[in-house]
């Protein structure tokens, strides 16, 4: 296998006259996590479907695990695992039977199959509900079962399409831990997400997708340097107070209309206390105080000049 696990260049796809992908280039190095970040309708799922041979591109080339996706689809499929956006589990079967189905379809001998199923159930903490039908599983459990099914046969390259969308925070953390563990075993992962935090937490590299184009690509740190960082927003009762505060906080940007001040900050308690102490020192008090962490909307605004709402159309 070459050093890059996934290599795509100039991917194009259109449905009738609607352009969905307009020249996507990306490279994922083996053993890393690559995040495709973007709002609904940006083209994330289409990209994943093309990379996983489910869809044919109108133009461009794809190489996955060293094989051409157009001419060597079979070899690509043998090397990858895919967990789609909607949990692809068989709801009428139990968790154990779902895994057995995968093991049987991949043609493992009975004894190996039993061992693989048992290990996956234990690893994903699904032993207790192994004999219950998947239709009774919670969203988090369903995603775990889905991912466990994908891991049957140890694929070296895994595609995860919005693996945590719709999950509660706790299940999301569990999913993150599982993803990190996979990469520590040398697996390559391409995931899509709508959450900047998720891409930031997991990915070695992030590509921001907007209306079928990659508008920015880099490490999380490189990207964050391009967007407004975490800041504190202070709203004052009078313009005089706003003036006074702006004088003592030289880094800040003011919004006269809202009588508000935006102060860059890391959001930590130490720096917040320092900020509050400084206001106190000058006997200033703000009506409202909020800490603002950049989200996908900020990234979008900074990189594309429009918000995610527009892009979703």
């Amino acid at each position: 296998m070459t050093d890059s696990a996934i290599l795509a260049s100039g991917l194009r796809k259109a449905y009738k006259d609607k352009v969905v992908l307009d020249g996507i280039d990306l490279e994922v190095r083996a053993g890393t996590i690559f995040a495709l970040l973007g709002p609904n309708g940006a083209g994330k799922t289409t990209t994943v479907n093309i990379l996983t041979t489910l869809l044919k591109a109108d133009g461009g080339t794809v190489r996955v695990a060293g094989h051409d996706a157009a001419t060597g689809a079979k070899a690509v499929r043998a090397a990858i695992g895919v967990t789609g956006q909607f949990a692809a589990v068989d709801e009428l079967l139990t968790g154990e039977e779902n895994l057995r189905l995968m093991v049987d379809l991949k043609g493992f001998p009975t004894n190996d199959g039993k061992r693989i199923v048992k290990q996956l159930l234990e690893r994903f903490d699904l032993v207790e509900s192994a004999r219950k039908p998947a239709s009774t599983y919670s969203g988090g459990m369903r995603r775990k079962l889905d991912l466990a099914m994908t891991l049957v046969g140890n694929p070296r390259i895994i595609f995860l399409d919005e693996p945590t969308t719709g999950l509660d925070p706790r299940s999301r953390r569990t999913m993150w831990a599982i993803i990190r563990e996979l990469v520590s075993e040398g697996v390559t992962i391409l995931l899509t997400t709508q959450y900047l935090e998720e891409a930031d937490q997991l990915a070695d590299r992030i590509a921001v997708l907007d209306q079928g184009r990659i508008v920015a690509q880099g490490t999380p740190d490189e990207l964050k340097r391009q967007i407004p960082g975490t800041h504190v927003r202070l709203r004052f009762a009078t313009a005089a107070q706003l003036d006074a505060a702006a004088r003592i906080l030289p880094d800040s940007t003011r919004d006269d209309e809202a009588l508000a001040l935006r102060v860059p900050s890391d959001g930590g308690t130490t720096s917040l206390r320092a900020l509050l102490d400084r206001l106190d020192e000058y006997s200033l008090s703000a009506d409202e105080f909020s800490v603002h962490t950049p989200d996908l909307d900020d990234v979008f605004l900074a990189l594309t000049g429009h918000s995610t709402e527009v892009a979703a159309k």
């Binding site: 996983t52 041979t53 489910l54 079979k74 499929r77 043998a78 990858i80 695992g81 895919v82 789609g84 956006q85 909607f86 949990a87 692809a88 589990v89 068989d90 009428l92 079967l93 039977e97 189905l101 995968m102 049987d104 379809l105 991949k106 043609g107 039908p133 099914m149 994908t150």
Partner: protein, 247 residues
């Protein structure tokens, strides 16, 4: 390929066994309809012979049709929910996915037809078929079920959602009533009578009736076989092309 078809078949059989509504519709419902027509209403029809002897062949066909709704919903769920992408990425041939559905449904059909024949005997059914005729009956039922299942798979795949897929199979469930299944076609009103005489189920029922009486007639057998082969072929080709398009 073969072993993957068997894995898929096992999956489909589990689905059927786990869905009490589909088992009821496919196996018990035809028996209920049989009891209603033969036991409750049978004396009111004058068809020239014992009514149970007249109605059993048609009810066997009805038993096949009642199982079709679940099949349409099943194949549609597979392509509208995410699982089909998983199968595709795993290189499962589409033949295996669809064949699994068809064979599982066919087995259910045979159980349903078996139940109808058993109940018929309890109600005094007295066929005069030779062992060879019985083989013919089994062959005709399997061929009919095969054809009906493939056209249902195609209808199920053409439907937008599992709900509409269930609706798509309803005409096939209704069609036996407008054939010679319950009363002879010549007793029906004009229009309906011609329809009943020329629709595919009538020669199939007449073939079964002939075989069970020990007097199969080529005039029924040939159109019956032609209809079954034709419907199976159309169903298979339509299903394969929709499957490629949908999934």
């Amino acid at each position: 390929m073969k072993s993957q078809s068997i894995v898929m078949l096992r999956r489909n059989l589990k689905h059927i066994a786990r869905n009490p509504v589909s088992v009821f519709n496919a196996v018990l419902m035809p028996v209920v309809v049989m009891l209603m027509f033969v036991y409750m209403l049978g004396d009111a029809f004058s068809v020239g012979v014992d009514y149970v002897d007249y109605a059993t062949p048609g009810l066997m066909l009805l038993a096949v049709c009642y199982g079709l709704g679940a099949l349409a919903v099943g194949v549609n769920s597979d392509v509208t929910k995410g699982i089909i992408n998983r199968f595709k990425v795993m290189d499962i041939p589409r033949g295996a996915v669809l064949t699994g559905h068809v064979i599982a449904s066919l087995l259910t059909n045979l159980i349903a037809v078996g139940a109808i024949i058993a109940v018929a005997f309890l109600l005094g059914f007295s066929p005069s078929a030779s062992p060879l005729d019985w083989l013919g009956v089994i062959g005709m039922v399997v061929l009919l079920a095969f054809a009906a299942n493939w056209i249902t798979v195609a209808l199920g795949l053409a439907a937008k959602s599992p709900e509409t897929a269930g609706m798509a199979a309803i005409p096939l469930v209704m069609l036996p009533f407008f054939s010679s299944a319950i009363v002879p076609a010549e007793k029906m009103g004009p229009g309906l009578r011609q329809f009943a005489e020329y629709q595919p189920f009538t020669p199939i029922i007449e073939t079964l009736r002939g075989l069970l009486n020990g007097t199969p007639a080529a005039g029924d057998v040939i159109p019956a076989l032609a209809w079954c082969v034709g419907i199976a072929l159309v169903g298979y080709l339509w299903a394969s092309s929709s499957f490629t398009k949908r999934a």
